[in-house]
Point group: C2
Chain length 222, copies 2
DNA sequence: TAGATTGTTAATCGATTAACAATC
DNA sequence: TAGATTGTTAATCGATTAACAATC
């Protein structure tokens, strides 16, 4: 039923994330006036093996010239298209705490076409104000706003204990992708894409790595 | 020379991150008065297979009772020890922009023993003020502060173009672990642990997944 | 042409999972 | 004891990498 006749190619989940790194590095190179780059040179810059880069790109097409490398502007254009960055993505943020506000102002989002259209919160002190032109609205207005503005992506920046609730509400209101900053594992139907950014987990991983060679563990990794 | 006679066990890099999820889930359970849990039940909560959980834990010891599951408080205690969370970690933040300040106030860090001791910036308007009791100091004072307070961990929250510079400085001043929020790949010597949190990459991955089944790509994943 | 570098194959390496004997 | 659930083995699955023929 849902499976098309078209051949499907699998690729590692890690590839999409790396494409994003390639895109960013190429953007910087374009800015510096570099117009051709080899997988070797790009790999050096990103600490990624050149064969990994070539393989990642090969899942999507032929972008290089043998003996020459990749045309920076051309590859940028293709990656922009592959990553879906050739359009504007209207986004809402739920949670107007320190983190929610910092995220709303994060310059990196706007640069990539992610445009924060509104921030939602329950705190009536904050509702009605705005942050750099982005209105803070009451969560009760969320459903209407999502439909009115055809929002598909949302960022959750509320405390852990409210996050699942917010996710359920967003799902019911038609959101298709969620970037979650709350430190919980969210549950949702399969048609909703959820990715989490975990601020503490990585710091904890660092703490682990700082501890382990100080003779604290029975068994040590390599 | 550096290799001890002790047997070394390898385990996946992903394991440490999952231990951190287990810890968090168990903490919440302890708070709710649950005192025993099976790998099956914990897995359901975290969308992780029970065999994965048992395997992860098995790298570090025997924590469960067959037929009974795991004692929540005991496992918490062991995980706290393994993750190095049984001590205080003094941390500094470099960059007093919106993100740096939000990070400095993030309640999740303090809860885990990560204590932000100071924020460093070059902006003389900000230097001398404080955020919730955390002083903002000039970067020139950083080296002295690091030595004086025996800081080993730092968080980078400066613009991409300054991040490598800051990392080099931190390394020279004796920092051993860096959590990087700047959207660049940092280079450093092997004895310095760097992990990055990338705010845009995940949003880009979501954008990709929202685009791909809209007939945009030649080759489609599964 | 000679040199460089891609795109792709095949081998290796690493991580997850099912299955089950051990045992509480 | 019977039932439940661990700890561990072995199979499977997935991702990375070296190597090289193709070709600019």
């Amino acid at each position: 039923m849902s499976s098309s006749k078209r051949k499907r190619y699998k690729f590692p989940k890690t590839t999409v994330e790396r494409l994003s790194y390639y895109f960013r590095a190429l953007e910087e190179m374009a800015k510096r006036g570099i117009d051709t780059i080899s997988s070797e040179a790009l790999g050096n810059k990103l600490n990624i093996k050149s064969s990994q880069i070539r393989k990642d790109l090969s899942y999507f097409g032929y972008f290089g010239k043998r003996g020459m490398g990749y045309d920076v502007r051309y590859l940028l254009k293709e990656l922009r298209y592959i990553l879906g960055l050739d359009r504007e993505w209207p986004v809402i943020v739920v949670g107007a705490g320190h983190l929610g506000l910092a995220i709303s102002r994060y310059p990196g989002f706007d640069m990539r076409g992610f445009s924060i259209k509104a921030i939602f919160d329950m705190d009536t002190e904050k509702v009605g104000t705005d942050i750099d032109g982005i209105p803070i609205k009451h969560v009760d207005e969320m459903e209407h706003f999502i439909r009115e503005n055809e929002i598909e992506m949302a960022i959750i920046a509320v405390p852990a204990e409210h996050a699942q609730n917010v996710a359920d509400t967003l799902a019911a209101e038609g959101i298709k992708a969620i970037l979650n900053f709350a430190p919980v594992t969210l549950k949702a139907e399969d048609d909703i894409r959820i990715l989490s950014v975990d601020l503490t987990t990585k710091l904890e991983a660092l703490a682990y790595y700082m501890s382990f060679n100080k003779d604290k563990l029975w068994k040590i990794i390599n």
